[in-house]
């Protein structure tokens, strides 16, 4: 399992991505978040503190999830991107689509 999903004390769903988010495991992340959304969760933090690399499929699934969460009146925040991943978001201009915090604690505090 490359994802760990839990709720913090305020009920915000935190998903930690271990290793990589790429074409081979993106569907697993998507389904886990969509299941939580269907179960009533509306506030999400995806934590990349332990993530080494993300390919374009991984970026794509984040875009898709962000749209689906917004359609349900929810909000997705990203946190813990290392320098390379932060650069990837900036190059692709995806930093303009997402609220990105330095740490998961900062992302949780912003809700």
């Amino acid at each position: 399992m490359s994802f760990n999903l839990h709720k913090d004390k305020r009920g915000i769903t935190v998903v930690a991505v271990d290793g990589q988010l790429i074409v081979g495991n993106r569907q697993e992340l998507k389904q886990a978040v969509l299941d939580a959304l269907e179960g009533g969760a509306r506030k999400f933090v995806i934590d990349f503190t332990r993530t080494g690399y993300i390919d374009s499929s991984g970026l794509g699934v984040l875009v898709s999830l962000s749209k689906k969460i917004r359609e349900q009146g929810g909000e997705l925040r990203l946190a813990g991107l290392n320098e390379d991943l932060q650069t990837l978001f900036e190059l692709t201009k995806l930093d303009t689509l997402f609220a990105i915090a330095k740490t998961p604690e900062e992302a949780l505090g912003a809700f």
Partner: protein
């Protein structure tokens, strides 16, 4: 499914060549990337470029070849050849598809394309490596990463 990596020394410049055939299954992208990266010598790429740039570039090139080239047909292989020289490496990835014209790929950073789920692979690749080139048909890509 077991992936088998072939390694051979190149006589001319004491380089190394890694060969891997990958069935067209996206589940195999991650294992194939790890197999190649873990077989790499400590030079000429820095640990950082090896663990981020090469990993991500390999994942992009493989998934494009499997999805858009071989159209997920598991009977077709994606061929990977990595040449490790003293001052650079080259990654050749080819598929059995019809090929494509890379100049027709839309810019994913334009406002109208930013919320698309796909279409970022080639753009990301170009920023991860020092050079990207294609064969005339467009079904083989060559990525060059210089030492460092």
């Amino acid at each position: 499914m077991t992936l088998r990596l072939a390694l051979q020394r190149l006589a001319r410049d004491s380089g190394l060549e890694l060969l891997l055939d990958v069935p067209s299954d996206l589940e195999l992208v991650g294992p194939a990337v790890e197999l190649i990266v873990e077989s790499f010598p400590p030079r000429p790429l820095s640990p950082h470029r090896l663990s981020f740039n090469l990993r991500t570039a390999l994942a992009e090139a493989l998934s494009n070849a499997i999805a858009y080239g071989n159209r997920h047909d598991r009977s077709k292989l994606v061929h990977v050849r990595v040449v490790v020289a003293v001052d650079h490496i080259q990654v050749h990835v080819s598929d059995h598809g019809e090929g494509f014209d890379p100049s027709t790929v839309p810019d994913p950073t334009l406002p109208e394309n930013r919320e698309r789920e796909d279409g970022r692979g080639l753009f990301v690749l170009r920023h991860l490596v020092d050079d990207v080139c294609f064969n005339e048909k467009g079904n083989a890509i060559c990525l060059t990463l210089r030492a460092g």
